[in-house]
Amino acid sequence: MKYVCDVCGWVYDPALGDPESGVAPGTAFEDIPDDWSCPICGAPKDSFSPED
C-alpha cells in the first residue's frame, strides 16, 4: 500500500522504496525503520497516512 506524507504530500510507493535513504525497492511501509523520515520535508514516519 502507498502512504502519503501529511506535511508535504509526497507519496511513498513500496515498489520504488526510498533508495537515497537506504530503503530498497519492494519494502513495505510497515518495514521501514522507525527513524526514517520523509525524503522531501523531513516529517517523521508517523506523519504518513495510507493513501486513499
Binding site: 506535511v7 522531501i40 520535508c41 516529517a43
Partner: protein, 401 residues
C-alpha cells in the same frame, strides 16, 4: 529605495514593489510587497538571497552601492522560489562567487530551476557553519516553512537571523522596520500572509519554534524576505504572533461565504447572520463576487465557524464557490465548525455538495443545512435564523472550552 544599514557590516539591499497587487497569482497583496535581501561586508563578502527578477535593477544598484568596488565571494540561498532566487543567474554571472550555500533540498531545487551544473554549490545541512571573517553563518533547515528547501541563516556575532519567507508580510513601504510602521496594518498584513501562505504548515511552525527555543539563539534582528523587519523587542512579538497563529485558536466569529444568482442564497446568508449576531457572535458576510478568495481566507483564519452557501447550478455549485472551497481546503484550516445553505430550483444538490466539502476538510458540521426552493419566504428565513443560532451555540461551546 536605497540600501539600509542593519549593523555595521550588514545591509538591506532589496527592492520594493509598490504596484504589485497579486502575490504569485493566488493571493492579493493590496499594499504591494517588498523583497528583502542582504549583503554582509566581511573578509568574504556574502549576499543572502536575491529579489523578484523584474526588480533586479533595484537590487543590483543597491548591491553595487554597498560593495563600492568590491566583489561578492559567497551567496547564501535560503529559498529557491523565484521571488528570492530569481536573480541568481544574473548575480552568478556578474560576480562569479566562489561558493553558493544552500540546503540539501535547495540544491535539488536549484538544479530544477536553473542551468546550475557549473555553479559552485555547497550543501549546508542543519548544523553546518561557515566562517566569513568576523561573522559565522549557521544554517538551520526549516523544511516546509514553506517549501522543502527553506532554510534559516543565523549569525551569532551580529545576533541576526535571516528567516526567509517566515514572518513576512506583503507591504510596500519606505520604512524598513516594524517599529516604524503602523501597528494595526502590520498585524493585519502578518495575519493575511500567514493565512494565505503559511497556514497549512502550522504543525511545522510549532516544531520550528520549539527547535529555535531549544537552540537558545540570541536574535536581535529577525529579517524576513518580505515586508517590515523586526528588531529588539519586536523579535519576541513576531515569534509570539507565529505561536498564536500556528495554534489556530478560534475567536467567537463566523464567516458566511457564498455566491448567489438571483439573490435568494444572499438573503438566506443575511438571515443566518442575524441569528449569529443576536447571540453575540461577530459575523462577516462575504460574497464571492465582492471578495477574492484570499480576503475570505484571512477572515476564515481566526473564525470559529465557516458557513458556506451556494445555489444549485447545473446539478452542482456555483464556480466561484468551488474556487473558494478548493483554495480553503488546500490551506488546511483546523478545528472549524461548518454549516451550509443554498437555494435551488429543481434538483437541489447544493447543500449536499457543500457539506461534503466541509467534511473533507474535517470541519465539525452542524445543521441541519438550509435548502430553499426558489425565493425564501418567512418560514425559510426562520430556518436560516435558527441555523445561525445553532452555529452560535456550537461556537460558544467550542470557544469557551
Amino acid at each position: 529605495m536605497n540600501p539600509h544599514k542593519i549593523t555595521d557590516d550588514i545591509y538591506w539591499v532589496g527592492a520594493v514593489d509598490w504596484s504589485s497587487r497579486n502575490f504569485h497569482g493566488y493571493s492579493l497583496s493590496p499594499l504591494g510587497t517588498t523583497y528583502n535581501n542582504f549583503l554582509i561586508l566581511d573578509e568574504k563578502v556574502t549576499l543572502v538571497d536575491t529579489v523578484m527578477p523584474h526588480l533586479r535593477s533595484q537590487m543590483m544598484c543597491n548591491v553595487d552601492q554597498v560593495l563600492n568596488g568590491r566583489g561578492i565571494d559567497y551567496l547564501v540561498v535560503n529559498h529557491l522560489e523565484l521571488d528570492h532566487a530569481g536573480c541568481l543567474p544574473d548575480v552568478v554571472e556578474k560576480y562569479k562567487p566562489e561558493r553558493i550555500y544552500t540546503s540539501p533540498m535547495g540544491e535539488k531545487a536549484m538544479h530544477g530551476h536553473f542551468n546550475a551544473k557549473d555553479w559552485p554549490i555547497e550543501v549546508v545541512p542543519t548544523g553546518s557553519e561557515v566562517t566569513i571573517g568576523k561573522h559565522t553563518l549557521h544554517f538551520i533547515e526549516t523544511r516546509m516553512l514553506h517549501w522543502p528547501d527553506s532554510m534559516l541563516t543565523y549569525i551569532p556575532e551580529a545576533k541576526v537571523a535571516f528567516c526567509n519567507d517566515a514572518f513576512g508580510q506583503n507591504i510596500a513601504s519606505s520604512e524598513r522596520w516594524a517599529d516604524e510602521y503602523d501597528r494595526y496594518v502590520l498585524e493585519h498584513s502578518m495575519k493575511e500572509y500567514y493565512a494565505n501562505i503559511v497556514l497549512p504548515y502550522s504543525p511545522v511552525v510549532l516544531k520550528t519554534l520549539d527547535a529555535l527555543t531549544s537552540m537558545n539563539l540570541d536574535i536581535q534582528y529577525l529579517l524576513p524576505d518580505h515586508g517590515l523587519m523586526f528588531r529588539g523587542d519586536d523579535v519576541g512579538f513576531a515569534l509570539d504572533k507565529y505561536l498564536e497563529y500556528a495554534q489556530q485558536k478560534p475567536k467567537k466569529k463566523a464567516v458566511l461565504v457564498y455566491d448567489t444568482m438571483w439573490k435568494s442564497t444572499e438573503k438566506m446568508a443575511s438571515a443566518i447572520a442575524s441569528g449569529l449576531a443576536d447571540e453575540g457572535i461577530s459575523v462577516k458576510i462575504m460574497s464571492m463576487k465582492a471578495n477574492h478568495h484570499s480576503r475570505v481566507m484571512t477572515e476564515v483564519f481566526d473564525a470559529a465557524a465557516v458557513l458556506v452557501g451556494s445555489p444549485t447550478h447545473n446539478n452542482g455549485i456555483l464556480p466561484l464557490m468551488a474556487d473558494m472551497l478548493t483554495y480553503m481546503k488546500g490551506l488546511r484550516p483546523q478545528g472549524k465548525i461548518g454549516a451550509s445553505f443554498g437555494s435551488f430550483g429543481w434538483s437541489g444538490e447544493c447543500v449536499k455538495i457543500l457539506n461534503q466539502w466541509l467534511e473533507d476538510m474535517s470541519f465539525e458540521v452542524v445543521g441541519p443545512p438550509v435548502k430553499n426552493k426558489f425565493v425564501p419566504d418567512h418560514d425559510a428565513f426562520a430556518q436560516c435564523y435558527e441555523l445561525g443560532k445553532t452555529v452560535a451555540a456550537a461556537i460558544k461551546a467550542k470557544v469557551e472550552e
